[in-house]
């Protein structure tokens, strides 16, 4: 039986500590900067692929594509996640102590140095290997070290966060931990387990190989270690958005969350089923037996359960809210939702994008259908309506209250209007671009390719129409990014107020129910996670060592 102490109920933390706020803001500056750079690269890519534009100053298409992937998929998301999680901890568990905060700052600077190292190599055209850096294309060693430092930086920052979480547990023995803090800790545990893969391949394979200490690299192993990390990466992006959906959104509405215990359970399931599934990115790779591909497909499908739990909770909250506002009939509650509140509209549009996004994910993970869409631009369409819409729009919604909350301001009318414009412009641009990508992909158009007529093949001509549509969508998205930057500036400037914007944290319908104990039993969580990883990966990885697959020499073909 878990009880809240009287002190906790009377005076819960309501604000992010001032010193923590600085750390969070430092991370958020990177988010805005990375968004602008990465978004500009994205716009230029769609223009090139339309066939009506050529890049100036000798910039290469694949150089730009590398920049786009690294700066958005890795840099922007990592800085946001570190910043948001620190804010969530400080808000719900209380201020970080000096040691924890210092780790946050060291992590921030290590990530910054790593980013600058990689960015320099990309700018010098020494690292046009795309964000997946598949061997045996060989970039400059500084690029790999830079990427490794970005990961190491997150480890350090996460260490500070975990210390804060466990300090709360020690200081409040036997009590249910604050939900947002718990979710942060689960996401961080997943991160530690999955980044072992990418860190090992970079440190033990890429660095010695690109330094010339060893001549060849085992590419099957490197790809497998990358995707061991690479799929959990997408859940690392997604779970902070889910934190906002579960624990913040009900408060934005002025309602209660559906179930605190269900939210915790769904996070645990994401922890279990995010990692032992990476081979579904390698379903048509040689070097892996069909059985192990099949097993990981089955494990991949398990995330359907927590995903549906999340969808249920969100719509339960929305409907309850609408009915409390007097809605009757089957769908009347939908009209009662706060359609003028930019925070809500941003994340709600994100949720809508996630419906086709999730369906597409089921298609991609299905072994047989995957073969039709593998490495076509359908895949690019898919991750733009997952990370590029639900995730990023929810990040924007969070930044709308975080930035004024941290700087002592409030969302005013203009900011709210900018937020609404951002939501609708993004939806329009992403809707057009991703639809065109999906349809072109179904007709066979490849991803990761500059404009090409493929020797005049008839089918390639058909793709060009879709590529023009992608450029139209890309242009709207670029306008949306400009609006986002203006919005961020608006949120951190202007007069400070006493009545500072709140960091909304919801109560739940089952807030005072006893906690489910095992979801906070970290030894158990680690054992189950490790167990599933061992089942899914032991044999395929062992085979990569024992089957004498010849190593590959490095090539620089750009």
């Amino acid at each position: 039986m878990t009880n809240y102490t009287t002190a906790q109920m009377l005076a819960p933390n309501t604000k992010v500590d001032k010193k923590d706020a600085k750390l969070v803001l430092a991370n958020m500056i990177w988010v805005a900067f990375a968004l602008l750079i990465g978004g500009t690269a994205g716009l230029l890519q769609t223009l090139v692929r339309s066939g009506h534009f050529e890049l100036p100053f000798g910039i290469g298409y694949y150089q730009l594509l590398t920049l786009h992937g690294v700066i958005l998929a890795l840099v922007m998301t990592f800085f946001f996640i570190m910043g948001f999680q620190i804010a969530a901890l400080s808000r719900t568990s209380g201020p970080l102590n000096k040691k924890e905060r210092t780790l946050g700052w060291i992590g921030f600077w290590v990530m910054t140095i790593g980013t600058l190292m990689s960015a320099t190599m990309i700018a010098l055209n020494e690292a046009s290997v795309l964000y997946t850096f598949y061997a045996p294309l060989q970039a400059h060693v500084i690029h790999y070290i830079g990427l490794a430092l970005v990961i190491v930086g997150t480890w350090i920052s996460v260490a500070g966060q975990m210390m804060r979480y466990f300090r709360w547990r020690r200081e409040n023995k036997g009590q249910k931990t604050p939900l947002l803090s718990y979710m942060t800790a689960v996401n961080n545990l997943m991160w530690y387990v999955c980044t072992i893969g990418v860190a090992s391949t970079v440190l033990f394979q890429f660095v010695p190989w690109s330094l010339g200490l060893v001549e060849t690299i085992n590419i099957t192993l490197s790809r497998t270690l990358f995707w061991y990390f690479g799929h959990a990466l997408v859940y690392f992006w997604l779970l902070p958005a889910y934190m906002v959906w579960y624990a913040v959104t009900p408060k934005i509405l002025g309602a209660k969350g559906f179930s605190d215990n269900l939210a915790r359970l769904s996070f645990v399931l994401f922890l279990f089923f995010s990692i032992p599934v990476g081979i579904h990115h390698q379903l048509v790779d040689p070097g892996i037996d069909a059985f192990w591909k099949g097993l990981q497909v089955v494990l991949t499908f398990m995330v359907i359960v927590p995903s549906l739990m999340t969808a249920f909770s969100m719509f339960a909250v929305f409907e309850t809210y609408g009915r409390n506002k007097g809605a009757t009939g089957l769908l009347d509650w939908f009209k009662k939702l706060p359609w003028t509140d930019a925070r809500f509209v941003l994340l709600f549009i994100g949720m809508l994008f996630f419906i086709p996004g999730g369906l597409g994910g089921i298609i991609n993970a299905s072994g047989q259908m995957n073969q039709l869409v593998h490495n076509t631009i359908w895949i690019v369409g898919h991750f733009h309506i997952t990370v590029g819409a639900p995730v990023i729009l929810t990040y924007f919604a969070a930044m709308m209250f975080l930035l004024p909350h941290l700087t002592g301001r409030k969302i005013d009318k203009i900011a709210n209007r900018l937020g609404l414009m951002l939501a609708y412009t993004w939806a329009l641009g992403m809707g057009i671009m991703s639809a065109a990508m999906h349809f072109a992909g179904l007709r066979g158009a490849p991803r990761r390719s500059t404009f090409s007529e493929y020797g005049g093949a008839e089918v390639a001509e058909e793709w060009i129409t879709y590529q023009v549509m992608q450029a139209v969508g890309g242009s709207f998205l670029f306008i949306a990014i400009i609006i986002a930057i203006l919005l961020f500036l608006k949120l951190v400037t202007g007069p400070k107020v006493n009545d500072v914007e709140e960091f909304p944290v919801a109560e739940f319908m089952d807030q005072y129910d006893p906690a489910v104990k095992w979801v906070d039993n970290w030894r158990l969580l680690i054992i189950i996670t490790a167990f599933l990883v061992l089942i899914a990966y032991t044999v395929p990885i062992t085979q990569m060592f024992t089957e004498n697959i010849p190593g590959a020499k490095g090539f620089k073909l750009w």
Binding site: A135, I219, D285, P286, L372, S449, A552
Partner: protein, 163 residues
């Protein structure tokens, strides 16, 4: 647990089970396992010393379960052969490898879509039932000339009996 929640979770889990059963039947009964599965190695520096890849192309199969073997070398930035004709109705096992970096091997408008990696041979078997031309292209970034890599599969009349 809420009643509706129970109904929802039951429906969701049943859908999941149904998906997995369909995938399982398709894989085991229909034989639709993913392309390129399995481990068949080759030294990437000596691809052309291997009899199969010396002059890649279509050869009559010695095995009884398919009519032809079709060998392809995917390298930066071309496919060999640059064009190949296949008699309609024949069952062909495609074998692809790379002497340099990772390439894609996608035959547009067919089920053939797999990675070609140095050190390994990727295979896939299929029957070509209709005449026509299919573009082959590289769908994994391999360097500056990546989008220029093409070849062609032409499925021609003439049937197996004419060989």
């Amino acid at each position: 647990m809420h009643k509706y929640e129970k109904i929802w979770i039951t429906l969701g889990t049943s859908a999941l089970a149904l998906f997995l059963i369909i995938l399982g039947i398709s894989a085991v009964h229909g034989g639709h396992t993913p392309a390129a599965s399995g481990i068949e190695t080759i030294n990437p520096e000596h691809v052309r010393d291997d009899a199969r890849f010396k002059e890649p192309g279509l050869v009559k199969s010695k095995s009884s379960d398919h009519d032809y073997d079709l060998y392809f070398v995917a390298s930066a930035f071309m496919y060999e052969p640059g064009e190949v004709e296949i008699p309609v109705g024949s069952t062909v096992k495609v074998h692809v490898t790379s002497p340099d970096v990772v390439h894609g091997f996608q035959v547009v408008g067919t089920n053939i879509n797999m990675m070609a990696e140095p050190g390994l041979i990727s295979t896939y078997e299929m029957t070509f039932d209709e005449t026509g031309e299919h573009l082959i292209l590289c769908n994994e970034y391999c360097g500056v000339g990546h989008a220029d890599m093409t070849s062609k599969l032409i499925i021609v009349d003439g049937g197996k009996e004419n060989d």
